[in-house]
Symmetry: C2
Subunit: 233 residues, 2 copies
DNA sequence: GCTTTTGTTTAGACGTATCTAAATCATGTT
DNA sequence: AACATGATTTAGATACGTCTAAACAAAAGC
């Protein structure tokens, strides 16, 4: 089995690698909160173990096995997050740190039982998709980042990614949760976007980097033939 | 904070040490499934950290701090066992291994929430007392080991300690659970005790070492002034 | 009381995960 | 094309948790 630390590296690399660009040493080091030499040593061992493709100075890319490992941890993490909110009264700002620790220590049996208890949910409390037991993940294609929306766009929040507890709390206090309807009222030229939150009727201004982590999809109301305007803008 | 491995050593020493006899190196090694030199090294580090009193060749004894550490882990373990049975459908034979891993990775917050959810329970699924949040443990004084009962004793099962999953499953299949009423019908001279299980009306024979882990108390029915006969036999 | 046995400790080693300091590679600039 | 800059890797160290083999202490046996 894969050690807890290795699982953390798998997660980081999974998030950092891109179709064309591998995860670079410095990026992984920053994500993991360690120094670059530590990452180099780790990547070398992980390459020996067949978890990543690694060539020195060229960064790392997950192998098939490495990706499965990453998805297993992601599955545990997201099921835990939902479990903690549903069964133990956590709110979406609190769950992340707890899940980050526990995700490495769940037996297969326990994960299964949690999944059954929750009714095989599709997404976690942040709207992120939960990999299935056979480690398939279905990315939602009908959503876009709030940062990419133009003025006038009306959309509902469908996912809030990788944000700190502070930011998540702030958003919750501002009336933002999954399903909240927003209208983009202004995009300022200095990296700020302002929307109106439908539930509170209040405007909310966010820096682009925060908005970039908020994903939205077109509202449920419009009929099939009206969708296009939000997707192809 | 105390490392997971150290917590496991604390647990072992807690179980092994006695009022007058400290936990000896070989005992700890057997309990932990490691070789004696490993234990020696660990005890030396733990002594440096103020967790045990240790003098070479004389075994180890928990300090105040060490005992608090052990009780914290015990508390986590037992709350988890109960949580897993109550909320996730585990039975008493399955919970131990899962709890043994998770017990080291619960935040204070999570433990509190589990305890609240369970309604501040006094005992775990095996009847073992759960240390309170301020790490006090109240050993039950009104119970005795089944192995020490004489023929004719009628008593109810109040605790089943430190048994393997196999043994626990066997006992459950034999109708033994917390609250089951037993009558000791025979104590054989070769280390075996036979009782009749009241719920199944069937006799059950157990080797003394298994019976020694089953604790019983006098039945609930008798009035206050009749108790004595069971306690002072 | 000496010796054997048993249990314990020391010595030396290895794998994991980390660090700092120094060497090396890759690249963008001039 | 040479150089300077920045990222990456190597080298060497430390802490943890484990091992085997060898030295040593304590208890038991004669």
């Amino acid at each position: 089995m894969v050690a807890p630390k290795v699982e953390d590296y798998l997660k980081s690399i999974y998030r950092l690698q891109d179709r064309d660009t591998p995860a670079m040493t410095a990026e992984v080091a920053a994500a993991m909160g360690v120094k670059p030499p530590t990452v180099t040593a780790m990547l070398q061992r992980m390459a020996d173990d067949g978890l990543v493709h690694y060539q020195r100075y060229q960064g790392a890319r997950l192998t098939e096995r490495g990706e499965k490992g990453a998805l297993k941890v992601l599955r545990n993490h997201r099921l835990l997050e939902l479990f903690l909110t549903e069964e133990l009264g956590y709110d979406w700002a609190e769950v992340h740190d707890e899940a980050d620790v526990l995700e490495h220590h769940l037996s297969v049996t326990l994960v299964e039982r949690i999944e059954v208890l929750l009714g095989s949910p599709a997404v976690d409390p942040h709207g992120e998709p939960i990999p299935t037991a056979d480690l398939e993940i279905r990315e939602c294609e009908t959503q876009q980042s709030l940062a990419e929306c133009q003025e006038g766009t009306v959309a509902v929040v469908s996912e809030v990614r990788e944000s700190s507890a502070d930011v998540l709390s702030y958003l919750a206090n501002s009336g933002i949760s999954l399903g909240t309807e927003l209208e983009v009222v202004e995009t300022a030229p200095f990296g700020m976007i302002t929307c109106e939150v439908r539930t509170t009727e209040k405007p909310l201004s966010l820096p682009t980097d925060v908005a970039a982590e908020i994903y939205v999809s077109r509202p449920a109301e419009p009929a099939e033939n009206e969708r296009r305007q939000y997707n192809e803008a």
